[in-house]
């Protein structure tokens, strides 16, 4: 029976009949990932931002840094706060009435990854402003279009934002009795300030401003798979996600270790399949390293600011 006209009514049968021909719903092969497009520096009011498109899935994220007062007993480390939101704009199933909590799961997952996997060096002197203040990174992630693999797009977007964030010098000045507030009309570079170390003095604009980058130790690469009958589908779209037996997400770190393996229920999986997933994932990590994140690793490119559209 020809299921192409009944795609929305019989999604399972449609996918099955397509897979027998060796293709998926969007004519990809089972092991093909979708194209990644990213833009950085789109939100100029924030200190760093990026939009990442994985096929049709679009995610935007922005970072703001601020100095936050801490208690004397608290650890003198950088603070990281993350919020992930699915807006009604991204999918017809999400409305103001029915708020799914899928975004909270992604939020908590990415938060745990960044805290527990040595991705950002929170002990770096950049984060310790003085004995009572630390730097707090607030990252907001919004989904603009839900077409599957949102976790992948969100994590890549967070890392793009972190890489291309430029924190201006004023953030590190805290107004206390002894210290003078910034922006008194003076040229900032001439104001002497011994309150913080400067490990990352990199960019100098026309106006002689200094910016700081975030010390990133490792980049995290997410890879999501879906299982449907006996097929292994890489990077499922939202149409496929609804009929999948189970999903499987692996996050690799750039130093080779595995940061997270996430299989939230679904049908059972045998070890052979897990091994095959890992093999495919490693190839994907190589691809991401060489293409998507190559400019971030290359120090010369770091000096060019923003508004670059990269298409892979």
């Amino acid at each position: 029976m020809d299921f192409t006209k009944l795609r929305t009514i019989f999604p399972t049968e449609f996918l099955e009949s397509k897979l027998k021909e060796g293709k998926r719903n969007d004519d990809r092969k089972t092991e093909d990932f979708r194209k990644i497009v990213y833009v950085t520096g789109t939100i100029t009011t924030s200190h760093g931002s990026s939009i990442v498109k994985l096929g049709k899935t679009s995610v935007i994220s922005a970072l703001t840094a601020e100095a936050v007062a801490i208690n004397e007993n608290a650890e003198n480390q950088g603070i990281f706060q993350l919020s992930v939101n699915f807006l009604p704009i991204c999918s017809p199933e999400i409305t103001h009435d029915s708020q799914p909590d899928e975004d909270k799961a992604i939020q908590q997952h990415i938060y745990r990854l960044i805290k527990n996997s040595n991705a950002i060096d929170f002990e770096n002197p950049l984060f310790k402003i003085d004995s009572h203040h630390v730097l707090c990174l607030n990252v907001d992630v919004y989904c603009l279009n839900h077409d599957g693999s949102i976790f992948d797009a969100a994590l890549i977007s967070v890392f793009m934002t972190l890489f291309h964030a430029r924190i201006p010098e004023e953030i590190f000045r805290v107004s206390q009795e002894e210290k003078i507030d910034s922006l008194n009309g003076e040229n900032l570079s001439t104001v002497k300030n011994d309150s913080y170390e400067k490990p990352f003095e990199i960019l100098i604009d026309d106006q002689k401003k200094k910016f700081f980058e975030i010390p990133i130790r490792n980049v995290l690469f997410p890879i999501t798979f879906g299982f449907f009958r006996e097929y292994l589908l890489a990077d499922p779209t939202s149409e496929e996600e609804k009929v999948l037996d189970s999903q499987f997400t692996i996050v690799f770190s750039s130093d080779g270790s595995i940061c997270s393996v996430y299989k939230p229920g679904g049908k059972i999986i045998i070890e052979k399949k897990i091994k095959k997933c890992f093999e495919l994932a490693k190839k994907r990590v190589e691809f991401l390293k060489q293409n998507v994140f190559s400019s971030s690793f290359n120090s010369k490119e770091k000096n060019k600011i923003n508004k670059k559209i990269k298409n892979y």
């Binding site: 909270k104 299989k263 939230p264 229920g265 059972i268 897990i274």
Partner: protein
């Protein structure tokens, strides 16, 4: 291998305790503990559901997790979503269309290995409630630890809270010298003992993950035997 409660070996689970029908108004309820980690689960279902939430053809599963302080932390929401995804493929939801099955989980005390305790308690409570399932499931928590002066990583089953959070201080400098830690939770079913769900937190390697999957089959059998025994005793009483 040295553990902080020195009576156990690295591959040994703690003792289990179950008490059924602890919530009178629930269709099925259980108070389950592994060592001192205790969890109360109440299952209400299949019951009527609001029109907004009802699904044609299947039952709507709702899971909520609450901490000891009565607040739903972010961690609890993540656990609830994970458990709901697991239950959607284990419960025969097509047998009860246009209804809802609510699983309410209350954490009473957390002494390590919390996620595994919650999942085991959910399985027991669904059994006692009489909801049709495709298989039984059981979970085990693993602690993977590598201290700085050791070569290999060690795997401890069913860790205590103080093992999970153990920080080693250097005697000379009193600087925190935390070893590399990771926590892995694996859920197995009782038909093929293959992994139904995997949840990791921290840095691990591939061979560590496969070793955990092997160990989870062993511990899964122990837990299923316990479930059988607990049910037998309950039925004997009745």
């Amino acid at each position: 291998m040295q553990r902080l409660d020195s009576e156990r070996t690295a591959n040994q689970l703690r003792s289990f305790e179950t008490e059924f029908d602890i919530i009178k108004s629930a269709d099925g309820s259980v108070k389950y503990s592994q060592g001192k980690t205790t969890v109360i689960v109440g299952v209400y279902g299949p019951i009527e559901v609001k029109q907004k939430k009802e699904k044609a053809g299947t039952s709507f599963i709702e899971v909520s997790v609450t901490s000891e302080d009565g607040i739903q932390h972010e961690r609890d929401i993540e656990y609830a979503i994970f458990i709901r995804n697991t239950l959607e493929n284990v419960i025969h939801t097509k047998m009860h269309p246009l209804t809802s099955i609510t699983v309410a989980i209350q954490i009473v005390s957390d002494d390590g290995s919390l996620f595994a305790t919650i999942i085991n308690a959910v399985c027991l409570s669904l059994l006692i409630c009489g909801i049709e399932m495709k298989c039984l499931f059981s979970a085990t928590n693993f602690l993977i630890e590598k201290k700085n002066n050791e070569i290999n990583k060690k795997i401890f089953i069913d860790p205590l809270k103080r093992e999970e959070e153990n920080q080693i201080r250097k005697q000379n400098d009193n600087i925190l010298d935390s070893s590399q830690k990771a926590l892995v939770t694996i859920v197995v079913d009782n038909v093929s003992f293959a992994s139904l769900a995997i949840f990791t937190d921290g840095l691990i390697d591939e061979n560590v993950l496969f070793r955990c999957i092997e160990l989870s089959k062993m511990s899964g059998k122990t837990i299923f035997n316990f479930i059988k025994l607990a049910l037998q005793k309950k039925l004997e009483k009745n």
